[in-house]
Symmetry: C2
Subunit: 355 residues, 2 copies
């Protein structure tokens, strides 16, 4: 039984606009190029028309990347060689503009907003940080549920609020990001839970852990799934296995869809959250674009399950939103082609001979 | 025996700067991210340092895409359903700003320059068009050499001149482009000639031709290679099988390397030209980046032969420079990361525990 406030988020999601998509396909066929020659960009332009309910889709002038940060009780299991305090120092790095996501965001004119969902430290209040801390880190998913269902709901609603606030401020494209030392272990657990794939197929090296640590991660995920079998309630599964940043992303993705704003997904954390959100609201998924494919194996499994093809595929495994931000110019270019290209008629270009 | 002016282009090419590349690798290891987490972008940043002889590499602020246009005598063999006049109308479309490459170039702030290397029509002089026409279309490669060696040399030198002029004007990144109805047939012939792969493996559907036309293309390439076996002289092979736009691109690629300017390659036409240029000057290839992989099978073979991994892989098959322009932000982002990211020391971020 889904919490009624989460159900309201789900109920606000509507299907893509079929009329705008048909118009976009028809327009693509008139542009000065062989049919299909722009490949994935043509499909992306049609999707943008469907999301924004407009053909051609409007220019996306104010992208923003929301970096949801949280810590993880499962860190105690030795699933990563990085100290937990790095989550808080990286939040400071984001706020100072020195992290990879900041550099990439400057390149494409995107704003960066950091949301503290559950960092295990007291962060200094101030600009560039939204305090939506649920708790100082989740509980250890190896020994019990990572959070209560009530906490999961709180985090989902917080993520939805962030999406609504950003769109109300004029942002027209939402990019997902995350930060949380140890967060690829809950990712693997969520992907295994929502796709039914065995843990060893969806658990990866995260920041680049060694074989022993990888084996430990797989054991932890197997134990959690054995101890708390997956049921029918996506929010309960999220609470059992996920992180606060995953939960916030679920709300962010649902609200983005309801707001009819394109959402560009980053890597495996966003992919795991997308599986949860799509389980709640299958029609929401059409509003999301896979920014990239990370090297984390669970991400490939998640994208396949969601039926998404990534725009960028360059062996990144950093998170933060880096893959989403890199993909943004490709998304915007797809829309621009539909808006700005000449047609065969307008340019006086002959078409191919009928065959 | 290579023409002495072409040999001079080859002699001007120097190896990448190993010192700058070592500095770039060392700097990558200090940036606030797990080692290797930025994947291909890290390798690209090292390559940019090697090309520009500077660590970090300078920002690329004035990209330009040169669209080399030419017609092809092999059009008479029925290798495409598109009328030859489309080459000239698309040149007009480029000049009017309505083609896909124009739209994408505006997105990334790149200038578009069109170079008439051999369009089979008289083009109106004026802004945005460089007249370097060698002849009104090549001869039919199915029945004899496409051009004389002297014509190939003229076209190579013209392409090199274009690169030098653009760099003298302040452009700091060269993107390749092409336009020429029927030009995937000479591409297939060149890729087969320079890689030794059989024609049926490297000949594709170009704009999307049907099975019968594809079979015709393969026959044409097989016949040309049987009639005029490939020898040791890359320029003679180019003259036998290529187009004027391919020849110009060979000079453009060699001069770009000699000028130490990053050159981003578009699709199969650029890939075929790169095989010729690399056969002349193997050290030039390190100065080029594969912008994308097209669906044309000869392009995948060419990239593998050149040892290049494409930055964008989205089933494009349009040419014009579209894939190179789409990749430009990824190239520039790679350099920006090396220039702008904080280090562990500067940001006060802890590193992972020694293992």
């Amino acid at each position: 039984m889904t919490d009624e406030r989460v159900q309201a988020l789900v109920d606000d999601v509507e299907p893509l606009d079929g009329t705008a998509m048909r118009e976009a396909r028809e327009r693509q066929s008139q542009l000065t190029k062989p049919a299909g020659a722009l490949g994935v960009l043509e499909e992306t332009s049609v999707q943008l028309a469907g999301i924004t309910r407009a053909c051609p889709p409007p220019a996306l002038r104010r992208p923003v990347v929301a970096v949801f940060a949280g810590d993880h009780g499962v860190h105690a299991q030795g699933v990563t060689p990085w100290p937990q305090e790095v989550t808080a120092s990286m939040v400071a790095n984001f706020r100072a503009g020195g992290a990879a996501v900041n550099v990439l965001a400057r390149q494409v004119g995107a704003e960066v907003v950091v949301v503290d969902m559950g960092v295990a430290a007291d962060l200094e209040p101030g600009p560039g940080l939204l305090d939506r801390k649920v708790r100082r880190g989740t509980a250890d998913l190896a020994v019990g549920p990572a959070m209560t269902v009530a906490e999961a709901v709180t985090a989902i609603l917080a993520g939805a609020d962030v999406a609504r606030d950003l769109v109300a401020q004029g942002h027209d494209c939402l990019l997902t990001g995350d930060m949380g030392i140890a967060n690829t272990t809950p990712c693997a657990a969520l992907v295994a839970a929502f796709t039914g794939e065995p843990p060893e197929r969806v658990t990866g090296r995260g920041t680049g852990v060694d074989d022993a640590t990888l084996a430990r991660k797989v054991e932890v995920v197997e134990a959690a799934l054995a101890q708390r079998p997956v049921g029918d309630d996506p929010v309960r599964t999220l609470a059992s296995l996920g992180g606060f940043e995953h939960a916030a992303l679920v709300g962010f993705l649902l609200a983005g869809a309801a707001l009819r704003v394109p959402v560009v997904l980053d890597g495996v954390v966003s992919g795991a959250a997308a599986l949860v959100a799509a389980a709640l609201a299958p029609e929401a998924a059409g509003h999301w674009l896979a920014g990239h494919r990370s090297v984390e194996p669970g991400h490939t499994v998640a994208l396949a399950s969601l039926g998404m093809r990534p725009l960028v595929d360059l062996d990144l495994r950093l998170g933060e939103g880096t893959g989403a931000v890199l993909a943004f110019p490709l998304v915007e270019s797809a829309g621009a082609l539909l808006r700005e290209m000449a047609t065969f008629d307008s340019a006086g270009v002959a078409q191919k001979d009928a065959t």
